[in-house]
Subunit: 292 residues, 4 copies
């Protein structure tokens, strides 16, 4: 596979010290290490809607055993008439919630002009699927000292995804975590919004030492599938999960965004408990296979 | 989802006794129960090439802990100039190998005129992806008393797949095991031949009490991915695995068919050992979700 | 492209006398020549429902200037509970309508056991999309002396399609007309049932001297798009069109099958009139390009 | 279709004066009217590489009968190690070439921070496929007084595409031309880089009065298919074409970008001559169909 790629500084073959496919470049986010043998769980609301909602959910997420908080401040919405996120106010809410709970947070940035502002507040910057090939934005986040969560575009090849990571790395920032979030195909629309492509996890790990996570919430679009697909993702070798979770006692129908996706706290707890028992280092059998 | 479907006798809502999504209609194949809490592993060569090759691999498959043998007698090949299988001779080889090892076997049938012949020999009849909507064939296998392994077409919706199962059931045979084997999408060609769609497993289990398996060999097309994706499939709730395996000491390059797909015996052993520890009954959390 | 293909007897490079990409192997159907410079229009109902309906529509189709009749006797239906066609009775109706109108007809065969029966009645045998890789069926129709209309599967590559044609040709029958009928993709479902892939027409004509047609009815699934896409198909180099048409004064809602697809007679007339003015021989500019 | 869309100001049903599906909101670019009955041809190099190259090709394009020039100044390239365009220097070259030839030009902008600069120079701003859902960019170009050419993303639905146009319109700029450029599917890779989705043209015209064009160069990725697909696009109702063309006497292999796509001058001439004879107003038959 990687033969077809140009020489990229993020490939194993160009990054010294990572010849062994079992080694991973770990990325630190507010004291949490992504890329080690223990899966990292990032959970939180689709969008930050208020301080109370965010604090409630952060406490629930922490109690369930998750390691980092996710929450949208600037939301990429298909229609300009949909709720677009609280913006700067949401960033301040997330900072206050971090102070209260100790949970570091990841949030999306879409506009290169807002990268500095978001980087001042957040612990990790998310590049969403729609922005995977937004090259001015990739360059801009590459100039910050914050770790980057780079989602795969929903019809992007592995080569395109890795080249997008290279835009970030070229500016000096190799603290990149890749995130598979489902692709579009022709035959899944009645039961899932996307197809979670777990086949890609091992080839990513073979090609690059960067860690790779999975977002089962967007990959399914249905909260009732998130539990099973979280387990499947870790079994396939994902270094962690990015999950949308509901606040306790929230009414699903009142949410401003993606109400079908958030899981209740007990499902999150089930996922984190199963994850704690797993080791996502490359097992010896797979290491042998990966060398072939 | 199932609202869009017509009333089919294989749906939970039309099949009395299966209201609880945790219940499965188990299918017996040569004494092996598919659809219980323990995953069933079916392994074997792509094509039956000789008695010695088949016996060797059957012994290896059994020693590795697999429960049933697979092996192609009539091979659907894209080109008419490719090896098409040994046909009747292969059926006789498989019967002889069953006598020797005790392993029941599943083999594909493509031609309605050969259904009786294949059903006389085999323990389970496979309908391949290309034949999922071959309705005369589906009706014909529905008239036998053998269990049917019905693969999903590579661009087929869940509704189409279930309707194809209904063609079999309508003739009186509800001993059907569904098998996901990867779908075609637009962005996976450099690292995998198909996209393994694990999102579909839970919706299948919610819609019908029929058991569902996964074929990670065709779903990836790369033997080095089969180990990881086997684990992922079981974690996603698959009742079992259909895997292509190499004979011990065989040279991959000498195979007549799909040489890239077969796994060596040690990887098969790793898979069966992990499978033995798993329980694929629907866990309580998912059962709750499935009821929503 | 054709470099990747094995040597097939239907490829230009293996079929002597067809080196010039402007030459086509013409196929005769009841005196109508498919593959010449004039587009051939085949039109008729989705399914034969009665003698009166079929005769009415055949007369309308003839009056509108179409050259051959289409009509389903054996219908491949996703659900076994849908109308499956009148079978043998429909064949007899089509024969009687041919006697009355002089229009030759094409009809689908799905079951290898019915090939002889259908071939005794029909002027051309259609292999539907779902059957494109039904190899026993392809071999069986290859043994008849009737021309074959081979539809492309809805996710089939050009290589797979040509290999399927080769299954027919290998049995001695090279009177094959290829037919593009739309493929499945991920982003067209709200406005069309498939994506009409006109990009494939010129590569087909470069690879093989067999003629190629387009079915704009299944390719769109919406009768209001059939007029525009018929014109586009001929402009792209299709040798003809296969169109579903309504009987005059029929009520769309009363149809047993694909009610959304049939075009009214005035639209069919508009299409045939435009087609009569077109020349689908390869123009000199494209011939030059095709040689590159 | 449009029932599923929220109320958007660019939809016929929300934009007064455009109830008749035969009416189009025409967009003026340097005196050229897009959206009338005559197709508009925009042609030029993939990337501006020098003044001489651009002037040569502009003269050839004008001589061939095209109406506007296209040429990349800022190129979105999958890999950061590929040629990225000459940037500001290219804009100045395009302005000089316009002064020399009189041809207005369209060029892509990817970075919201460069919108003012590009708008000062160009006659029309192109939003590329990768940027179709770059909402900060869409808002920024919506604030200029320049017409916008909005390409469809390669897996974007019609609803997503129209919503992206609405981001532009919401800022006060409804001079938008939509451009179909091919989508990704699973079965076309051996003969074309994308699938040109001509099915979408009529539904676009039914949903919105904005004009719609087709880019056959990116939609095929093969210059030898561009002639046929240009004809097909106009037959399907496209208001014009956006084509990559080679400079006379250029050697295809020396190009820095997309060398396979550019057509030679004689093919461009063939396309423009055919286009001159066409009327892309909605014909009466289709108008009737569109009203249904």
């Amino acid at each position: 596979m990687s033969e077809q790629l140009p020489d990229l500084s993020i490939l194993r073959r160009c990054w010294s010290g990572y010849d062994d496919p079992a080694t991973t470049h770990t990325v630190q986010v507010n004291g949490v290490k992504i890329g080690g043998s223990k899966p990292v769980i990032i959970a939180g609301p689709c969008a930050v809607e208020s301080y109370e909602q965010t604090l409630n959910i952060a406490r629930a997420v922490k109690a369930a055993g998750a390691h980092l908080l996710r929450g949208g401040a600037y939301k990429p919405r298909t229609s300009p008439h949909s709720f677009q996120g609280l913006g700067r106010e949401a960033l301040e809410i997330l900072v206050a919630v971090r102070a209260e709970t100790g949970l570091g947070f990841v949030t999306e940035v879409m506009d290169p002009r807002l990268v500095d502002l978001v980087a001042e507040h957040a612990d990790m910057l998310q590049i969403g699927s729609r922005s995977m090939q937004n090259y001015p934005l990739l360059r801009e986040v590459g100039r910050t000292d914050k770790p980057i969560l780079l989602k795969r575009g929903w019809s992007s090849t592995l080569e395109e995804w890795l080249c997008s990571a290279e835009y970030v790395a070229m500016e000096g920032n190799r603290n990149i975590v890749l995130c598979e979030r489902g692709i579009r195909a022709s035959c899944h629309w009645s039961y899932a919004r996307n197809v979670l492509d777990l086949n890609v996890i091992q080839p990513v790990r073979q090609a690059t030492p960067l860690p790779v996570m999975v977002d089962p919430s967007h990959a399914t679009g249905q909260w009732s599938l998130v539990g099973a697909m979280s387990q499947a993702a870790l079994a396939a070798g994902s270094h962690g999960l990015l999950i949308e979770a509901l606040a306790p006692e929230v009414c699903r129908e009142d949410l401003l965004c993606d109400a079908e996706q958030g899981i209740p706290q007990d499902v999150l707890q089930e996922i984190t408990r199963a994850a704690e028992k797993m080791d996502v280092s490359l097992p010896s059998g797979l290491r042998a296979a990966a060398k072939c």
